[in-house]
């Protein structure tokens, strides 16, 4: 005898209800497909030209020579993440060895070091004031450490636990102040937290798998951010309502990095499918792909130069490729790291960019000075 709930309904009304539910489901699925087609149609109508075609009249870029100016050594294992301080000289980095280090990139001195209770610290960020850093990873948390001027003070003692996810922390970023942090997680969600109280202010649901990266829109553009995930989607979110306002699904694999174009009207993404792509938010579509047949390894991180003309991509084949954003061509390839490039950020004043690698080091590169 089958359990009661598995037997066919004895009462005719219940049978009708089941049929009705199934019809509603089918109806919703059809509407879903219709809307998806309409979305593609509307996007296609405005696709009158390619970005690189419009950019044909723009002057080409010359040869680039960028040199490693500083090498930061000290981590005992893979460097996973880094961030610049607004003072344009300090850097925070985090590693698989569980350590978070604050460096003075001009002198290469280590100013602070924290040992986290977990290994694989996948995310770290500098507070806008320069007075604190946030980090987290396999501990599923994001913690904030105020930076003390007293070198002897134990930073771990003042640690504040802010975010709690149900899976690893993949990325974190302070918003415009030291008071709020945005996080993304392997649990498929992003969340906004109040640093002081640790309270969850807003959560963002919509990714179908791990969220790997996020970036906040430039402050002038308003309260939005973009996230990328293992579901191959890049989602743009309204921070106040928690609503996903735009979604892009053209990558063929995990999106490891997303970064806004400096005007806030577009964003770039880097993926395991070995391409970087540019999505324009007002045209609501992908407008450029940065790829070459010879590039077959995934992109771990991307960032723009100050004007948005150059896109830097750190790759799993240990190189950095520099792309002309408008023309879609590669302008330079940079070597130096002895393992995957895992993280890449341009400095706040645009004079240099820093890369972190699985080779345990960070490198700061700047263009060769003009005489």
């Amino acid at each position: 005898m089958r359990p009661k709930y598995m037997r066919s309904p004895l009462i005719p009304e219940m049978a009708t209800q089941e049929v009705q539910l199934n019809e509603t489901l089918a109806h919703l699925k059809t509407e879903s497909e219709t809307l998806k087609s309409k979305l593609e149609e509307e996007r296609a109508k405005l696709h009158d030209v390619e970005l690189h075609q419009v950019a044909e009249k723009v002057e080409g870029l010359g040869q680039f020579v960028m040199k490693t100016r500083r090498t930061l050594k000290g981590h005992g294992n893979k460097v996973l993440c880094m961030d610049w301080c607004k003072d344009k000289r300090r850097i925070v980095s985090s590693s698989q060895d569980g350590k978070v280090i604050v460096w003075d990139a001009f002198t290469t001195n280590k100013e602070h070091a924290v040992t986290m209770p977990c290994t694989w610290v996948m995310a770290c960020a500098y507070a806008p004031s320069g007075c604190a850093v946030a980090c987290g990873g396999l501990d599923n948390k994001c913690s904030v450490y105020p930076l003390s001027l007293d070198k002897n003070e134990n930073l771990a003692a003042k640690k504040k636990s802010v975010a709690m996810h149900t899976n690893y922390l993949s990325a974190c970023s302070f918003t415009n102040s030291d008071m709020q942090i945005l996080t993304s997680s392997g649990d498929g969600t992003c969340a906004l937290w109040d640093v002081e109280s640790g309270q969850l202010l807003q959560s963002f649901h919509g990714h179908a798998a791990d969220v790997l990266c996020l970036d906040l829109a430039p402050s002038e553009t308003g309260n939005t951010f973009v996230s990328g995930g293992c579901d191959k989607k890049a989602n743009v979110w309204d921070m106040r309502s928690g609503q996903c306002i735009q979604s892009f699904e053209t990558h063929e694999s995990d999106i490891n990095s997303v970064r806004y174009y400096p005007s806030g009207d577009a964003f770039a993404s880097g993926s395991d499918d070995a391409t970087c792509r540019l999505y324009d938010l007002r045209a609501d579509r992908e407008v450029a792909i940065y790829s070459k047949e010879s590039i077959i390894f995934g992109v771990s991180s991307v960032d723009f130069s100050l004007s948005g003309r150059l896109l830097f991509g750190g790759y799993n084949d240990y190189t950095i490729n520099v792309w002309d954003v408008l023309k879609g061509t590669r302008v330079s390839i940079l070597f130096g790291h002895e393992n995957r490039v895992s993280t890449l950020r341009v400095s706040p004043d645009g004079t240099a960019f820093c890369t972190g690698s699985w080779d345990h080091t960070l490198r700061v590169r700047a263009i060769c000075s003009l005489i």
């Binding site: 089941e18 809307l35 723009v58 990139a105 045209a283 004007s307 000075s369 003009l370």
Partner: protein, 72 residues
């Protein structure tokens, strides 16, 4: 889980998807030609202030190599 409960949660999921798609389908869009020229204009306006694009004189480069001191 009863098949009725399964259907209900699938329906809730499907409703959310439809709602999300409705929002996305109805946003205002501009032509790629207009979006592209705006991106180009931004690059052009800010190019001269982009150190990685233009280079900087050695005296202003914060990351220039430290020259070794000679002891006389």
């Amino acid at each position: 889980m009863s098949s009725k409960m399964q259907s209900s949660s699938s329906i809730a999921q499907a409703r959310r998807t439809v709602q999300q798609l409705r929002i996305e389908a109805n946003i205002e869009r501009i032509k790629v030609s207009k979006a592209s020229s705006d991106l180009m204009r931004y690059c052009g306006e800010h190019a001269k202030n982009d150190p990685l694009l233009m280079g900087v004189p050695a005296s202003e480069n914060p990351f220039k190599d430290k020259k070794p001191c000679t002891v006389l």
